[in-house]
Symmetry: C2
């Protein structure tokens, strides 16, 4: 087999914090111990024809492996978890529950987290932004409260660390205000635990090493 | 094996249109030809302790089968697709691509569709709702445009009908204004094609037959 090839940015507006979605895939590959290569795009190239052939929505990451091309970070992480051991239990029930938490991260928790990112970063200067913010926070807090109760005093969401935890930690890292996450000390500790994993650190280091590009012309300094 | 048991509402505010997420699971079970039982909740019971034990986020559907309890409609549909043939191709590459479209439906397309639902249904009467609406529509239209190009003249997103199409059709049914979807005739026809499937029709009929409950006290008539 050739090494997997992922497509990522050589610059991103998050200042190397590893919030871009290729981090999910890098982290998963590090967890299973699989080396990979990276095709880097300049910021903006994701919307061009060449990359749209890999991902019709013009986003990163994309993943290539022996003739298989995949987009959607969730599907790629799931593929990696199936291909190499280390990202979920070997029994079918444990595996189904890890997949359940993958979807919970991306389809139940991420939408409210992302809404809060858009409200802050994209719409922050709109005249109505301040009036809308309390509702955004209320929806976010409700979900975090439910997630906090589900996690309780456990180390991970369901038994050992799984692909579900990997995606959930990355989603929670997008909660912009640290005070919001800290309202639930168990969630704050959970994210810290994820980020303390050697595979996370290796992935972040590799991501940062690849940030050799420049912001697009006109990007606010 | 005992028959799968799903948990659903006996009433929902969508007037029997089958937009609630248990429809995804009903449709999947009909596609693979697997009979199932239903536990019905009154509206509001999803937030109570008994159901939170099945789904910590207090949502439907939940799925039970021989000791396995799952929440998250995406994970349940994926489990059904693995358990019985009919929801994706038998080769690993085709299967990975069906999963890719499942995640695309729930993690790339649904957030902008859902934002439009919230903006209309939840926030519609807020003082700032009108000023925010153009941005909501712009993000929705961008995604629909990309999806329309990806579908092109094909019948389904990637080869035969798959679990990815099932989820995508259900997500697109939430686009409230029919004129928005009709801006892309191929997407409009795609949704109609999904709804014309015998399995979809059987699922919707079963869902409607189960709508024997009443709206909660104080629900606007």
């Amino acid at each position: 087999m050739t090494r997997p090839l992922i497509t990522a940015y050589n610059w991103a507006p998050d200042e190397g914090r590893g919030l871009v979605r290729d981090m999910r895939v890098r982290w998963a590959l590090e967890e299973v111990g699989q080396a990979y290569d990276v095709r880097y795009l300049n910021w903006g190239e994701q919307k061009e024809r060449a990359h749209r052939a890999r991902n019709p929505f013009g986003q990163v990451p994309a993943y290539e492996e022996d003739g298989l091309t995949l987009f959607e970070s969730g599907a790629i992480v799931l593929h990696i978890a199936e291909r190499w051991p280390g990202l979920w239990p070997s029994d079918p029930t444990g595996r189904a529950r890890a997949i359940e938490w993958m979807f919970a991260a991306l389809n139940t928790v991420e939408p409210v987290v992302w809404d809060q990112v858009i409200a802050r970063v994209v719409d922050g200067k709109e005249s109505w932004a301040k009036d809308r913010w309390p509702g955004v926070l209320e929806r976010l807090r409700m979900r975090l409260d439910e997630l906090s109760k589900a996690l309780g005093g456990n180390e991970w969401l369901d038994g050992d660390f799984s692909a579900g935890d990997l995606l959930m930690v990355q989603v929670l890292r997008h909660v912009g205000d640290p005070a919001i996450l800290a309202e639930h000390p168990n969630l704050k500790a959970y994210v810290a635990r994820g980020m303390a994993r050697p595979a996370f650190k290796r992935a972040l280091e590799a991501l940062r090493a690849g940030q050799t590009g420049a912001p697009p012309a006109g990007w606010p300094q």
